[in-house]
Amino acid sequence: MVSGKRTIQLFLGLMLLGLIVYPCSSADPTGAATLEEKPDAPVNFSWTLMCGFLVMFMQAGFALVETGLTRAKNAANIVMKNLMDFCMGALSYWAVGFAFMFGTATGISGLIIGFDKFFLMGEAYDVSTMELWFFQLVFCATAATIVSGAVAERIKFSAYIIYSVVISAIIYPIYGHWVWGGGWLASSEFMTTLGGGYGALDFAGSGVVHAVGGFMALAGAYLLGSRIGKYKKDGTPVAIPGHSITLAMLGVFILWFGWFGFNAGSTLAATELHISIIAVNTALAGAAGAMMTMFLTWWRFGKPDVSMAGNGVLAGLVAVTAPCAWINPGAAVFIGVIAGVIVYMGVWFLDHRLHIDDPVGAVSVHGFNGIWGLLALGLFADGTYGVYTTQGPMVTGLLYGNAGFFLCQVINSVVVFAWAFGLGLILFWVLKHTIGIRVSREEELQGLDIGEHGTSAYPNFVTTEPAVDGDIA
């Protein structure tokens, strides 16, 4: 409550400040000058914005996948978390996140962090900057929302709100700066020399978005502990089926739909006709991932598993996100197939070996396959596309003779894991030992909808929970 009030006062104060400071210095808010300078701007703006809208819509996909794969008694809480991480994320990214990520970066400090354009003020009041901000916001929000699923059904809502501010304001932007904002992973001399003209690359964010989200999710799920009843005393996992496969699969479709914007939009330009190849790769990798997961579960359990096939799509999509512009369709299918294997094994490994409870498979889908995407780029880049542009130098991977670039991607993989998992541990550890991160046992049993929001998601339906065979930990 108190924090609520404070936050509001703070925001109101900043608003007023903003309103006064704004108009004194600005670039091209009208857009007329930009149009004159770049006659291609309309088609590029409309492409980028429209793709950004699709990416924004992925929020709905995440909300549905996560709520569909968890229980009815937590459904309202989960969609609320998904809505609010976007909202808090947008305000945080507006206030500081974008400044850290894409603020002007010069000299050594610029390899670490950016530091202007706070609150989109001053020079940032410009049609091109705004376009970039919008497209980057929806990516930032995607990273933030990934964690939601892994910590579902037990995290305190207040802790989640704080988490979503921190990731959108600090954790995501700083790593993002290293790869996309002129930071050291992409632009330091060491890396560009190693890579042969370019450092670590990540076309649409297998690393920047998905691995960051996925490994923060791992940290969160680990520190929270498993849901009550998830593991028997001997550690055997107990299935806790989700309450709506239909909504979960609708979520998968929405995510796939949005992913075309995610990947193909990342050219930020329709004048890059390569967008068609990106779209093809995005379609094929998702399809291959699902196909593989379907056959694996069919083979292992005698029946094709629905929600795992959905995860297979997402795994393929995550994996192709980094390389999508630099590979050919055959490689996309291959990457998708491997992604399907990884998500299948990852889910099994976390659940059966590590006993880390990730209700929706976020770590395997976004974390493990995020890394696979970075490495796959280092392997399969086939030299038909440059560094985010048609112009050379063309990007080539290990299979095409550039071992240095593969090394860059390995370094990038290690860094993203260390950064996201490390900071994730710190953040959730601090939250755990201050305001607490986990709801009470009673609340968890009763459901977070009542506990956190005083409501029921489905008051007109008689609900139940399947009685499974198992002792309770």
């Binding site: 996992p237 579960t297 359990f301 029946k303 929600s307 659940d351 009685a467």
Partner: protein
């Protein structure tokens, strides 16, 4: 008067209902329940792990009937609902002291 509670397979309900109708038993109350008896649960799978669902969905039919008709009801149900496989269900019979029809406040057998 007796109350006959029959717990049967949900997939057999439609047939049982028809058979009872033909036997002249039309009044009934039906409840969706879960249960287990000799039959153990079935194995389902979820995200690549198997699990046993312990209690299976069943349909419970409650009929309050004249003492005289109890055997007809039992007979009808047994002949239609039985598949011979475990899980066919149970019938419980208990005594009802009185019945009231809400609309007319009639009591006893005439209210059935």
């Amino acid at each position: 008067m007796k109350k006959v509670e029959a717990i049967i397979r949900a997939t057999k309900f439609e047939e049982v209902k028809l058979a009872l109708e033909k036997a002249g038993i039309e009044s009934m109350t039906v409840i969706e329940v879960k249960g287990r008896g000799k039959q153990k649960g079935i194995t389902q799978q979820w995200r690549g792990a198997e699990y046993v669902v312990d209690l299976l969905p069943k349909t419970k039919i409650e009929m309050v009937v004249d003492d005289a008709r109890v055997e007809t009801v039992v007979d009808t149900i047994c002949s239609v609902a039985a598949t011979g496989k475990i899980g066919d269900g149970k019938i419980f019979i208990s005594t009802i002291d009185d019945v009231i029809r809400v609309r007319t406040r009639e009591r006893g057998t005439t209210a059935l």
